[in-house]
């Protein structure tokens, strides 16, 4: 194969990997939107918060250390010992469940039957609050996150692909980050688990029932409040996975919460109510923006990755506003 084709393949592969990362974030949005019709603006911040909490547990940071020290004139910052990865992740999941419960208690409960825009505003407020809370609890410095997922380029893949190039051409192999491959595998696993859960468990069935018809769900005795806590907990766990992946890749810092913006075009493409849609939408945007940059980028001066996804989303809004996999509107004739 000529180096040109191999380069294109490399771009596509990397695009797919990036796409998976977008999908991970979009997934959290879809879960909450499906079950409660709320567009959860705080999803990105939840990922940041989950990652911060995880690092905090790993490194044994004392929560609210700065606040405590300022108030009492002490100088404690660290317990001295941290938890191992597994326990830290379990603890973080518990924190996210507690968070979901608090959100239901303090926010959603009081806003039942309000207009969607009011709920949306509430999640914006929630996002700002959590941003501040995260900083206050764990400090605002940039942290590295390492849960033992290998990262860096794969030499094996480089060697394998080098042999694919036609003889005599100058080609040094493809670059693929092992971390990205792991992220893709974990994302697939997550989707499989979520699908099995919603299709074959009683709670999953109740979740889908609530997504279809709130009032009817009430009449069969499904408690909307319980369902909301469950959904927000699951979204919190998905946020944790996204936070781990993005955090391992680029460090845990404020900009992590901005990945939520990239999820928006993914959602428009895939449809707000479809889990497969979130995945496929993410992949299309990932591959699309990388290929566009590779082929068209040089002609227009590059940096197309910043806007490509949004322009694509714009086109979709014009021609297929419910997205590729948006809930089919059942209409009997």
């Amino acid at each position: 194969m000529s180096p040109d084709i191999l380069n294109t393949i490399e771009v596509i592969l990397n695009g797919l990997m990036t796409g998976v990362m977008y999908s991970l974030v979009a997934l959290g949005f879809v879960l909450i939107f499906k079950a409660s019709g709320i567009f959860n603006y705080a999803q990105g911040v939840m990922a940041l918060f989950a990652a911060l909490t995880l690092v905090g547990f790993q490194t044994g940071q004392i929560p609210f250390a700065h606040l405590i020290n300022d108030m009492f004139g002490t100088h404690y910052h660290n317990w001295g010992v941290g938890f191992n990865n597994f326990i830290a992740i379990v603890l973080t999941i518990l924190v996210m469940i507690l968070f979901a419960w608090l959100v239901e208690r303090l926010v959603l409960k009081h806003l039942v039957n309000q207009e969607p825009i009011i709920l949306f505003m509430a999640t914006i407020g929630l996002a700002f609050f959590m941003e501040g809370l995260g900083d206050l609890m764990w400090g605002a410095n940039i942290k590295t996150l390492d849960v033992g997922i290998p990262s860096g380029g794969s030499f094996w893949w480089e060697d394998v692909t080098r042999t694919w190039a036609s003889a005599g051409s100058e080609y040094y192999g493809m670059y693929i980050d092992v971390l990205d491959v792991w992220a893709a595998a974990i994302a697939v696993l997550l989707v499989v688990i979520l699908t099995l859960f919603s299709q074959y468990t009683k709670t999953g069935r109740a979740l889908r029932a609530v997504a279809d018809d709130h009032q009817a769900a009430l009449t069969v005795g499904i408690s909307l409040r319980t369902i909301w806590v469950i959904v927000w907990s699951i979204a919190g766990m998905v946020a944790l996975v996204a936070g781990i992946m993005w955090g391992s890749k680029s460090g845990v810092q404020f900009s992590l919460s901005l990945i939520a913006l990239k999820a928006l075009p993914v959602l428009i493409l895939g449809g707000f109510t479809s889990i497969p849609g979130a995945i496929v939408g993410g992949l299309i945007i990932g591959v699309g923006e990388k290929l566009f940059e590779f082929w068209i980028g040089p002609l227009v001066g590059g940096a197309t990755e910043n806007w490509f996804a949004y322009v694509l989303a714009l086109f979709f809004l014009m021609f297929r506003p419910q997205g590729l996999f948006g809930e089919r509107i059942i209409e009997r004739v």
Partner: protein, 271 residues
């Protein structure tokens, strides 16, 4: 109402206000005896659905509120219980317009009805078979998405779903809505069957007065948020006023609003 019947459900003089301003029920009282089929009759906007929803306590989702009066189920006050708690005690509503879960299959719809039950898979399976025996058509459509089934099948799914909760009382809102007359008969036959064989008590809001009075044991007539008349179904069906205003049978010669006597009679109803 005869004294030897146990009253399971009592509504005492309730007043319902929507959005803090709109007074919809102006003091409705009714009693449902154990094992009865009680019909709640009246025109559009009379307050039938509101009465049903205030019993099942899902008014809150529509910004409605019971401001006066009380509701009792088997001697206990229930107006402050959550819908979940009510379903657990055996009061289940079937909403007007069916409200099936469109994207779930018919069988999944039925299974969600058993959501609150804790008595094990075996019993739930058995009840599923029981529902299928009353509605054989649902068994054929078990795997199709409920949204794609016919109106009659959706109504059956909704009733079946309520049955899966093992209810003592089913609050059935407008089961005949949008169905062909034949199908309406079929559904009512099944309701009578369920009432006799499964000992389910029904409170049934219905516009189709003719059919409802044929199957019900007792009836209440609502107008403008008040009960204007009640009695045994048979005696209601024979009442001259009911015949004229609800059943569309007048006593021979044509009536006109110029006829003072007729006008007064009608007015008395609306007062």
């Amino acid at each position: 109402m005869s004294e030897d019947n146990n009253i399971v459900l009592t509504v005492n003089n309730i007043e319902v206000i929507y959005d803090h301003v709109i007074l919809v029920l102006k003091g409705v009282s009714l009693e449902v005896p154990e094992g009865g089929i009680v019909a709640l009759l009246g025109a559009n906007g009379a307050g039938k659905t509101t009465t049903i929803k205030s019993i099942s306590n899902i008014l809150g989702t529509e910004r409605g509120e019971v401001t006066k009066g009380s509701i009792e189920f088997m001697g206990e006050k229930i107006e402050n219980l959550t819908p979940t708690e009510l379903v657990k005690r055996g009061v289940v509503q079937v909403m007007e317009g069916r409200h099936c879960f469109e994207h779930l299959t018919v069988e999944e719809n039925l299974l969600t009805g058993a959501y609150i039950r804790k008595d094990g898979k075996k019993q739930i399976r058995d009840d599923l078979e029981m529902v299928y025996s009353y509605f054989p058509r649902l068994k054929e459509r078990a795997r199709s998405q409920a949204g794609y089934t016919s109106g009659g099948e959706q109504q059956m799914t909704a009733v079946g779903r309520a049955l899966m909760a093992r209810p003592k009382v089913i609050l059935l809102d407008e089961p005949s809505m949008g169905l062909a007359p034949q199908l309406v008969e079929e559904i009512f036959e099944i309701i009578r069957d369920l009432n006799q064989k499964e000992k389910v008590t029904f409170l049934l809001a219905e516009q189709n007065t003719t059919v409802a009075l044929r199957y019900a044991t007792y009836g209440y007539i609502l107008e403008n948020g008040r009960v204007v008349m009640d009695g045994e179904a048979r005696s209601l069906a024979e009442n001259e006023d009911v015949k004229e205003f609800y059943l569309g049978i007048s006593g021979g010669d044509k009536k006109s609003f110029r006829d003072v006597k007729h006008y007064r009679r009608r007015k008395r109803w609306l007062a």
